[in-house]
Amino acid sequence: MRSGLFVFIVVSLLYCAGCDPASINAGFPEVPVAPVTNTASSAKIGVARVEDSRSDRKAGLIGTSSEVYLLVGPELPDYIERKFRNELAMRGITSLDALNPAKTGEPGHYKTLVVTLQSATFATPDPIFVKAESSVNIAVQVYAASTTNVEFAASYSGTNQERIGFSRGTGLRSGAILAVAADRAVDAAFADAKFEQALK
């Protein structure tokens, strides 16, 4: 009995030492479509594709008993862009497709909003009461119309902490947990009076 237990422990240790970390991709929920504002009198702003300045796609380890990386790909920058465009629409501002003036070297006809995803993290640090923690940090720049000068820039963060139950549902819910953190980062931007002012 005792030797059997010993062999089980040794084999388990050897197995764990030899396995490579696996990875899964996070999926993100759809952003509800906001009413499109595009009238001659509405304010207009160019919105560039959300840049991703992270050095890799790993957001962190998922689960409590194995090394599985959660990968966050271009879905999160897309999610953040749609969220920004919706928030602008809800404020009566028409968002138009634009290029990043810093990359093209050419100014836009309107003010241009450039959002950069700086970091996205996900972790399940508590092995007993399994909870997931996520954080998202974005940099927001507003370029002046007809110049390539940055008029306003700031960084905003959002965090989210949810209890998910022992080793269940982490993979499926990871994107939704990260999306809440991203929502909070975007909300923080629109709660900043200086940012709102820069959009006008």
Binding site: L5, I9, S12, L13, C16, A17, S53, S55, K58, G60, L61, T64, A102, T116, Q118, S119, T121, A123, T124, P125, P127, I128, E133, S135, N137, A139, V140, Q141, N149, V150, E151, F152, A153, A154, S155, S157, T159
Partner: protein
């Protein structure tokens, strides 16, 4: 008389076994240490690294962080937008070794959870910030 001596010997061996189990429970900390070196870099370099609100150096830097808890990291440089991220603390394979004494004496698992910081790992162990340009600060 002989029975009392046997009982004392039995109690002593039980106590020694318990001490050995508790000592083994902290083995990860004894081998790995309770702190881990994390590399911080930025583009451009020369940015301040602020961990949990304390300025700990300038990029590029290798800074030791406690393994057991998550840390909030802010990398900032004048003329650039601050970068923020959070490091997490995840269990390593040392957790399996900690479970061995827990099979004999389950309360050890509680001591492991609280005290054996060496069984945890700071994730990620490299933080790279590509800083985004901010407008020059207005003159006062």
């Amino acid at each position: 008389m002989k029975l009392a001596r046997q009982r004392r010997a039995h109690i002593r061996s039980c106590f020694l076994m318990l001490a050995a189990i508790v000592a083994c429970a902290g083995c990860a900390s004894a081998v790995e240490g309770t702190r881990q070196q994390v590399a911080f870099s930025s583009d451009p370099p020369g940015a301040s690294v602020i961990v949990d609100g304390v300025n700990l150096g300038t990029t590029p830097a290798e800074i030791e962080l406690g393994r057991r808890h998550s840390h909030s990291v802010r990398i900032e440089k004048v003329g650039y937008v601050p970068y923020e991220t959070t490091t997490s603390s995840s269990l390593t394979n040392w957790q399996w070794l900690d479970i061995v004494p827990a099979l004999v004496f389950p309360p050890v698992l509680f001591f492991d959870y609280i005290f054996d910081a060496g069984a945890y790992e700071v994730e990620p162990n490299e933080v790279t910030a590509h800083l985004v340009v901010a407008p020059p600060a207005p003159n006062p």
